[in-house]
Symmetry: C2
Subunit: 324 residues, 2 copies
């Protein structure tokens, strides 16, 4: 069995080692750029962790692991266009660097490349892996559509929000884990438990992201912080504050979220002050812990020796403590 | 064996019958719109024609046929954003109707849906069909990238142009035929011959499209005509004219293609007059015939009775005579 650090290093290595220096370069250069911006490579690592957990040679899971990372980066690439995000991991986003048209097209090609990696896996796994990948992608698109819908709605509930992030973030982590399980020929029941682990840990992950966007600093986070507030994103922080605030503060919040930001700093401070007044951060940290516990309890039921689950437990715990 | 008309009708029917009335509607409505704009459904028909040619029950090929049509429409949807095309089949394009963000996202979901249809096919065919679909898509993206590159280059050759349209249009027709062959468990040699048929007929198809864009009228063509000239697209017409024109006419052409259109009518007339002066249309019609002959000669070698090839021959001949 490999250590957490070894698998993390391996995931980074297999993704970084892939080169995309094909013709036409106008298509492949943005892909190469997108896939070599660093990052923790969490998703491919999860695929490897699961393969290792089931005593499968991790080499057999490399292509599936890369596939899921390429898929993930494809969704980021197109999301950045839709969200008009200037930075990703501290660097210009693909559409900022290469223009919208090339970003759309290179993203499409990455999507196809993700399937290409699946096709490099053992033939027996191709139908299940293709099925998993396709379901993940459809769910992510649904999640992104809800996310955009919510921008124009003022009655979004916390439950709807959790549903949205579960589609947008949870299913991808679940998919990464499931792919590792498929390659390892795991039992269907274990696959379901790992999906449950992934889904819940993915929700916890996104809730943590909301917290970090609000309270982290640019250097640690690698993205511009406070953008959720500037963009009037109805994150879990906002939805919780709206629930808890008295009428006066609620009106202030609603007003701030109805206007385009002019004084970014002032708006951020006003909103953050209300979040802090109602201990929103603590509430969300409690939610993060609950979803993490739910994930861990699904993991407990997976039918492998307990000590083999250590890496996934480490992952879950690191998630809560991260600063970016 | 079915008649050409029966298969054409069936292809239209199976595509039209698919509904996309799922949630979130902001994701699925543009998909539904995109897939119900009429059209000849050439690609799914080709899949059915091939299945029928090999005596395979055409019902077995329905999902693959729909998959290829969904894939095709996904590429149109994203291409229309990149080309800023206002109309498709006489109606507003998806991005015009729903906005760029929804068009990007719905396109992505259509791409995934195309794989979903593949996954509905018999399990034994899934790896080959997935492989075919993925290769087709990567080729189309490469073709579209070359197409965009060519806009900024002034030394594009006719050979490069043919290479580009072969990627952008040919491989999709080849893929549609190949999918029918896969479902029919055809021999590898026959698959290759059918791909060759598709590739060449696809090139002929696009050359014909260039001719129609220049000389057809809006009502017949369903798209705004003359847009290639307005957009300075270096189509086969332009590349042929540049080769044949004397120095004076060549300079006029080069000049027209260096400027943004102000007087659209005037520019179109100037360029068309030069095309006509050098009998460009006749040259391209000769090329179309040559590629069609090449396609038909590959078809001749396919190992089924001659009379079973009648539908593909009809298809090839109709292609040359079409007005849209």
């Amino acid at each position: 069995m490999y250590s957490f650090e070894q698998l993390q290093k391996k995931a980074i290595e297999i993704v970084e080692n892939e080169k995309y220096d094909f013709n036409p370069i106008t298509l492949y250069e943005p892909i190469d750029y997108s896939l070599h911006q660093g990052g923790k490579r969490i998703r491919p690592m999860l695929t490897l962790v699961v393969a290792d957990m089931f005593d499968c040679e991790i080499e057999k899971a490399y292509n599936a692991a890369i596939a899921i990372e390429v898929l993930h980066n494809f969704t980021l690439l197109h999301d950045d266009i839709m969200d008009a995000s200037p930075l990703r991991r501290g660097k210009p986003t693909v559409y900022q660097k290469y223009g919208t048209n090339k970003a759309i097209l290179s993203g499409d090609a990455m999507f196809a490349l993700a399937y290409q990696y699946i096709l490099n896996c053992d033939k027996e796994f191709i139908p299940s892996l293709t099925k998993t990948m396709t379901a993940v992608l459809i769910n992510i698109c649904q999640g992104q559509a809800y996310d955009m819908d919510f921008e124009n709605r003022h009655d979004v509930t916390k439950k709807e929000y959790i549903g949205m992030i579960s589609l947008k973030t949870g299913v991808l982590l679940a998919g990464a884990l499931k792919m590792g399980a498929i390659i390892s020929k795991a039992e269907a029941e274990d696959m379901n438990l790992l999906s449950e682990f992934g889904l819940n840990i993915g929700i916890a992950f996104q809730l943590q992201d909301d917290v970090l966007d609000c309270w982290s600093n640019l250097k640690d986070f690698g993205k511009v912080t406070g953008t959720d507030i500037a963009d009037n994103k109805k994150t879990i922080l906002y939805l919780t504050a709206i629930e808890k605030a008295d009428e006066k503060d609620k009106q202030i919040l609603l007003n701030e979220y109805l206007t385009k930001t002019i004084d970014f700093q002032k708006k951020q401070k006003t909103v953050r002050d209300i979040f802090e007044k109602y201990s929103v951060k603590e509430d969300i940290e409690k939610m993060i812990k609950d979803y993490t516990d739910k994930a861990l309890s699904a993991l407990d039921k997976v039918s492998v020796e307990d000590k083999k689950k250590e890496n996934l437990r480490t992952f879950a715990n690191k998630l809560i403590d991260r600063s970016r």
